[in-house]
């Protein structure tokens, strides 16, 4: 039972069976990170190309560590260090690099849809979307889902609240799609300016006060306020935002005793989440980081396999 997809572009493309296979594989591969020698020879001789046309530390590191634990070779291009800064188009850049025989291309770009273009241009190479603009970030959704499943067991019927800037967040979009697909009730909490016009299409329940969801949520996912993507149009000031939408230790007193708190990082301490909550007993933020490596290892392993018969 291989994956039904050749590329990991959107959480939409994945079937429930795909998700189960990816997570089962991720759980098996997680153990490698705890060995004295954190490496297996599985992807020896495979070439993985990281095209990070937008800044990234943790996602890029996570992919890089994942590739190296499986013995794949990696090369990185970034916007500033590449010919793109000399005026070359992205497709030309990627084409040149793909000619060096990549097996997987991992792409992050500030424009939505770029990973699809690359996948169309190189049908024999698997493309993983590591975040495209305000659109999707499917590997983050997979690691979020794995983290929820690890701490909750059966996820069917759980209430997950996603709080914050839904509009700018590709994490929120991929999360909403995946969580819904896997049988969870998804709630979003945001000021109206932070809600995408089509939010209802995701089959989620919209709330405009964090107080409304804290009492019944099994999972609270706080999103980062992305200062780099906005101006004063979106909210008056940060203090007001944290007053109405921040997760505080005071609010946590009303939460379910077994609630878990998540955040895709990087955290703006004191803005969307208080440090006492981010570091508190309900926080599984660091589990997310840990599972990120395992999920990306699983994807690279599974995608490298489906090549065989083709080409």
């Amino acid at each position: 039972m291989p994956l039904s997809v050749k590329h990991i572009l959107s959480a939409r493309d994945l079937t429930k069976k795909d998700v189960d296979l990816i997570l089962q594989t991720a759980r098996a591969l997680k153990e490698i990170s705890y060995r004295p020698i954190k490496k297996v020879p599985t992807l020896r001789g495979k070439q993985i190309l990281f095209c990070f046309f937008e800044d990234s530390t943790r996602t890029r590191m996570s992919f890089d560590i994942a590739a190296k634990r499986l013995s794949a070779d990696t090369s990185v291009i970034t916007k500033s260090g590449s010919a793109i800064s000399k005026g070359e188009t992205i497709l030309d850049t990627v084409k040149n690099l793909a000619a060096m025989q990549a097996d997987i291309i991992v792409v992050r770009h500030k424009e939505s849809g770029i990973p699809w273009q690359i996948a169309d241009a190189f049908p024999h190479i698997s493309v993983i979307n590591a975040g495209d603009g305000m659109h999707e970030h499917p590997t983050q959704a997979l690691l979020d889902f794995m983290t929820i499943q690890n701490s909750k067991g059966n996820v069917e019927g759980l209430h997950v609240a996603i709080v914050g800037d839904i509009f700018h967040s590709r994490v929120a979009r991929s999360d909403m799609i995946l969580f819904k697909k896997m049988g969870m009730h998804v709630h979003v909490v945001a000021p109206k300016t932070f809600l995408p016009a089509d939010v209802e299409d995701y089959g989620v329940t919209v709330h405009n006060r964090i107080q409304d969801v804290v009492k019944f949520a099994d999972v609270i996912m706080m999103l980062r306020i992305q200062r780099e993507r906005m101006n004063s149009f979106f909210f008056p000031n940060e203090r007001e935002y944290s007053k109405y939408f921040g997760l505080t230790k005071e609010l946590m007193k009303d939460a379910k005793p077994d609630v878990v708190v998540m955040h895709p990082g990087p955290v703006n301490r004191g803005l969307e989440i208080e440090p006492e909550v981010a570091d508190g007993p309900h926080s599984i933020i660091l589990d997310q980081v840990e599972n990120g490596v395992a999920v990306r290892m699983a994807l690279m392993y599974l995608l490298c396999g489906t090549h065989g018969g083709e080409e």
């Binding site: 039972m1 291989p2 296979l21 089962q24 594989t25 759980r27 098996a28 591969l29 153990e31 490698i32 060995r35 004295p36 020698i37 490496k39 297996v40 020879p41 599985t42 001789g45 499986l70 392993y301 599974l302 490298c304 396999g305 489906t306 065989g308 018969g309």
Partner: protein, 211 residues
């Protein structure tokens, strides 16, 4: 098919062609060309593992720092079964781990579909330990090669020995087992099916021929 005398352990009765009632429904099960022969019953497996346990204890004297590691999937319940037999003699517990070798296979670039990776669970350090690898069938030897590579990534064992239920020949690598319950000469179209209660609902060994 001809049956040879086991190298280390001899099984009392020669295998017989299947006539038992429990196999009646299995033969010609939707596939006319498949013939199924019976190789070992649960009682024979039980007896063979008990002999193997005594053999292992004889070979390794006091059995200090000896652990059993089953190769997924069928080597794991077999290792546990063998451990119970060893424990019965030693009157103390023996540690058992499980090893998935898929990440170490030498044919990953040849198979179309990646094999499903399952968990490796070694709840003990292996450095300095004597390891008895346990698997159901010894065939080309490639699984054992992969298992040894996997083990070395976890530490430096004092030694590694191999125990298998059935040695069916056809080796492609210079690998031999230290303990064999049953040695069988097989044809290329035959397949040895070691069935275990934990996964198949019954303990029994069959030879299926899809000629």
């Amino acid at each position: 098919m001809t049956i040879e005398k086991g190298i280390e352990i001899e099984i009392g009765r020669p295998p017989h062609k299947t006539e038992g009632f429990f196999l009646a429904g299995m033969e010609n099960n939707g596939d006319e060309s498949m013939t199924t022969k019976h190789l070992m019953s649960e009682a024979q497996m039980e007896e063979a593992l008990a002999k193997m346990a005594r053999q292992i204890i004889k070979q390794n004297k006091k059995m200090e720092d000896i652990v059993l590691i089953g190769i997924r999937s069928r080597g794991v319940p077999l290792a546990e079964w063998l451990a119970r037999k060893i424990e019965a003699v030693l009157k103390r517990p023996v540690e058992v781990g499980s090893l998935d070798i898929n990440l170490y296979r030498d044919d990953l670039s040849e198979v179309d579909e990646q094999p499903v990776v399952r968990k490796t669970e070694l709840p003990f350090g292996i450095s300095g330990k004597g390891i008895i690898l346990v698997d159901d069938v010894l065939f080309t030897g490639r699984t054992i090669r992969a298992a040894m590579d996997a083990l070395i990534d976890f530490g430096r064992p004092k030694f590694v020995q191999l125990a298998v239920m059935v040695d069916r020949g056809w080796r492609e690598l210079p690998i031999q087992a230290d303990y064999v319950a049953k040695k069988v000469k097989t044809s290329a179209t035959e397949n040895i099916k070691v069935m275990l209660a934990e996964m198949d609902g019954t303990n029994e060994i069959l030879i299926k021929d899809k000629r």
